[in-house]
Symmetry: C2
Subunit: 163 residues, 2 copies
C-alpha cells in the first residue's frame, strides 16, 4: 500500500468549507487530515502528536474517532466528486459532506509514535449519502474499525453561519 | 440542572492514568473534561476552543465524539467507584475504564461559542463493563446522542507501556 496521500480531496474543498479542526487546510490549529484514493478504497494517514495519549504509550480514542470521522466525510466527497466526473486538480471544487453518524470499535490499544493509516471502503446508499467502513492500522496491525454515514452538507449550514 | 461539575472523577484517577488528552488532569495540552454526578445521571461540561470548528459557527464532530468518549469512561468510573462504596474526596483512587465502542448520532449542527453539556445515563452490563447513553446539549437543545461501552482497563495496558 502507498504510505503517502499525494492528492487529497481536502485540498479542493471550497475555502468557506475548509476550516474543519480535523481536516480543514485553513484551520491553523487543526490536524490537517488528508484523504485520497487507494485504488477503489480511500486512505488517510496521520501521526498523532505526543500529547494525543490515552494512557502513556497509546493513542487517545477521541483522536481515532476524529480520524475516522474526517476520513469518512473526505471519502464520501471523493466518491461523489468522482461520480460527477471530476478529478482532483481539474479545477473543480469538491462537494462537502457532514457526518450523520459515527461508530468506532476499539479492537486493541493503538500504539503511539507511529503513523496511523485509515483505509475506507465506500458504499453509496442514496445520491446524497454514503456509508464509509474504515479500518485503522498502526504498524500494519488493525487497531480500530469505524463506520461513518456522511451526507451532503445541507445548505442551511451556511444560512445559519455565525460569523 | 447544575451547570458546573464540582467533584469530578478525573480528579481522583491515579497519577499514572491521568494523561488522557481528553480528560487527564496531568496532560497540559488536553481538554480536561471533568465528569461528576447529576443526581443518578452524570454530567460533563465543556466549552470548545475557537479552533474546534467543523464549518464556521459549528462545533467539530470529532470534538463531540471526544466529549462523549471521555464522558463515557468517566461515568463508568463514577459508577464503579460508587458501587465500591467510595466517594470522591475520601482518599480512594477511582477505577480506570477504557472505551470498547463509541457511537455518535449527530442530530443537528452544534453551535459554537457556548458550553456543551453531556448528560449520561448508566447501565451496568457486566461487573467490569458499563454502557453509558449520553445526550449532548448546547443552549439546552439536544444536538447529539452517544453511546459508549466502557470496560475496566486491562492490566496489560501498563505492562505494554512504552515510556
Amino acid at each position: 500500500m502507498e504510505e503517502k496521500v499525494i492528492k487529497a480531496i481536502q485540498d479542493v474543498y471550497p475555502d468557506d468549507f475548509a476550516w474543519c479542526y480535523g481536516c480543514g487546510r485553513l484551520n491553523e490549529e487543526g490536524h490537517h487530515f488528508r484523504t485520497g484514493w487507494l485504488g477503489e478504497q480511500t486512505m488517510t494517514i496521520f501521526t498523532p502528536k505526543p500529547e494525543h495519549t490515552a494512557l502513556p504509550g497509546y493513542v487517545y480514542g477521541g483522536m481515532i474517532a476524529s480520524l475516522i470521522d474526517c476520513h469518512g466525510t473526505g471519502s464520501a466527497a471523493l466518491a461523489l466528486h468522482k461520480k460527477n466526473g471530476q478529478v482532483i486538480g481539474d479545477g473543480s471544487d469538491a462537494p462537502r459532506f457532514v457526518t450523520a453518524s459515527l461508530k468506532v470499535d476499539y479492537l486493541k490499544p493503538t500504539p503511539h509514535g507511529v503513523p496511523l493509516k485509515a483505509v475506507g471502503t465506500l458504499q453509496e446508499i442514496h445520491p446524497k449519502k454514503w456509508k464509509v467502513e474504515t479500518e485503522v492500522y498502526a504498524n500494519n496491525h488493525l487497531c480500530a474499525r469505524g463506520e461513518v454515514v456522511a451526507v451532503v452538507m445541507p445548505s442551511t449550514f451556511l444560512a445559519k453561519e455565525e460569523k
